[in-house]
Assembly symmetry: C2
DNA sequence: GATTTTTTGATTTACGTACATCAAAATTGG
DNA sequence: CCAATTTTGATGTACGTAAATCAAAAAATC
């Protein structure tokens, strides 16, 4: 049986009340006494029973998710997963609120963060826009002891406690190797469709992609990036135009808005052997994978990201350790054979 | 605030004791009264606070893991993950015991299962050997209300509550498509190294592999399967022999014992362009992926499997729902760029 | 209608922790 | 040494549930 506060009190030769004062960092304990208690805690290997403590405190975890107001399948999916988590709130003692901010707008994000610092949630998850102001705001909140995790898009160099998302450089590198290997000895040009180079995850994917292409597949030339703003219409136009170039033998779509890409491919490339790699598994990309329009899909599981963010925020709020391996968000590679 | 037993009692117009009798299916409640309470429970949307209940009961979850006594990296890894879970036991209220049984020995497995039915653990996870006797023993335990999950290797057609492992047919299919696509237009022969065709997961991987090869890559011929018994020495000999055949352009290793495979490849195939796909990420396969001896690794995350099995068994023991998407064990595809 | 049996209520203790109160003891300052 | 202050102990209540006991009420049996 694991030791309880009573055991600590007995071992330290003090009363229950004193143990309680030490455990909950209440004042009125002499230094020597505090040391005695802390020694007993260490020696007996006491760990607070979080379930009992939460019961006694009537504790809930007010959490805030800050998401960009983007109208694409991935963000819709992320939202849906948060709603699922809300349904589990009562069992998990969470109290989850979602705030939408304009996409790619650091100032708006900062103002929301500043507002939250007054509201005292016990944890914040945000899809970070990569800007110095945002970094500063996040660092300030971390210093004020708010648990913070970045979701989907990281804020490197900031003090955030955790990042619940995939390694986008690795994703880009993986895409490049898959494309290169699938194309084999063929020579030609590769079209790259991105959302916006202002978003860190897209930049990183491109960075990884071009690095591996340059190192390992010198026969494949990367064309200038098409920025589709994650909008199906824009993507469609850009890709349809680009396919006028007969030298293109491969396409890497590293953002959202794949609906337009797929339409363009079906209209303009029926007679050509194109190898296509895209990101994010949606109804559209899934269908395209099944009918061979797309050859592979790289994906991040939004459900895992949301659940992981919640687990990590709760653990940080309680000062507990997280199981690192469990919280690592993996890059899923889907071929038509291993779809979920 | 979520309703408590007191609210149920008030709503149903009965005493706390009666609510307790209904909730814990104790006798001495008239049918009509029971109905009243159940209606109140439904109408208020009451769900038992599992944390409080466990505290009151002093409940622990005695769980048993039954593993084959196989001496390969994967089983060692699985064992290590179970030990990690044991370290978390006190926080998770689990009490985990591991039983090793001779590998591929249905009778031994059945006798352990029968013994357990007397011991009353609150959940059992087993790496199933696929045999009718085992299926019958598992079904019997399920009927006796033991929560049971299969781990790594499933027992299809049995009544087990859950399978914590990958879809091995999908894994084989994925391996085939990767190999076929990586080889591109080349024609030649493919060597397949398995552990044993007596194990269901190996059979399924082969089944998926040959199916996709036949459907989609008719220029690639699959050679008779080499059964390496998951033993590095045997695997080494078999592969070294097979590589005498100059027509081999690809290798699929669907079992364990990859150390021998890798040695054989380094000795016999330095001057050849072989495409190699293997299962299970270990120190050896990882190094081989990095130095281009292996082109891709398919993996199942033993840590996820163990944690998932525990979560599911606990949920079943409490009669709670599991988050299906969370418990799905995914097939990891590793290229050298996305290694963890 | 009296007796037995079944059903229900009222109440208590417990789980491990949090938190508050008040009294007692120890320490500090003058 | 006394008074003021700080530190410690003792005790009780609470959280939501489980489980037990005993008395009271209701229903079933004769």
């Amino acid at each position: 049986m694991r030791p309880t506060v009573h055991d600590i009190a007995a071992a330290a030769g003090v009363s229950l009340a004193t143990v309680d004062r030490v455990l909950n960092q209440r004042p009125g304990v002499r230094h020597v006494t505090r040391e005695k208690v802390e020694t007993a805690i260490r020696e007996l290997g006491y760990v607070r029973d979080v379930a009992a403590a939460n019961l006694a405190k009537g504790r809930t975890y007010p959490l805030v998710f800050i998401l960009p107001a983007s109208d694409n399948s991935f963000m819709h999916g992320l939202n849906a997963e948060i709603r699922q988590a809300v349904l589990r709130s009562s069992a998990e003692r969470t109290d989850i609120r979602t705030i939408e901010v304009p996409a790619f707008d650091p100032a708006a994000l900062v103002s929301v963060l500043e507002q939250l610092s007054r509201e005292k949630p016990c944890g914040i998850a945000l899809v970070a826009t990569d800007a110095p102001d945002v970094r500063a705001a996040v660092d300030r909140l971390v210093r004020e002891r708010f648990p913070i995790v970045t979701l989907v898009s990281d804020l490197t160099g900031s003090l955030r406690h955790h990042y619940a998302g995939v390694d986008n450089i690795a994703a880009g590198r993986t895409a490049a190797r898959l494309l290169g290997r699938f194309l084999g000895p063929r020579k030609g040009e590769i079209a790259v469709l991105a959302g916006s180079m202002l978003v860190r995850d897209h930049r990183e994917r491109l960075e990884g992609f071009t690095a591996v292409m340059a190192e390992e597949f010198p026969d494949l030339a990367i064309l200038p990036v098409l920025e589709g703003r994650d909008d199906p219409e824009v993507a469609h136009r850009l890709v349809a135009d680009a396919l006028g170039n007969a030298g293109i033998i491969g396409v890497y779509s590293l953002g959202a808005g794949n609906r337009g890409l797929i339409r363009a491919l079906k209209e303009k490339a029926v007679d050509r052997v194109l190898t296509v790699i895209a990101h994010e598994l949606t109804a559209h990309t899934r269908a395209a994978l099944m009918d061979n329009t797309i050859d592979a899909i790289l994906n991040q599981d939004a459900g895992h990201e949301v659940r992981s963010a919640i687990r990590v925020l709760k653990a940080k709020a309680d000062g507990l350790a997280v199981i690192e391996a469990q919280e690592r968000i993996r890059l899923d590679i889907f071929l038509k054979d291993n779809l979920p």
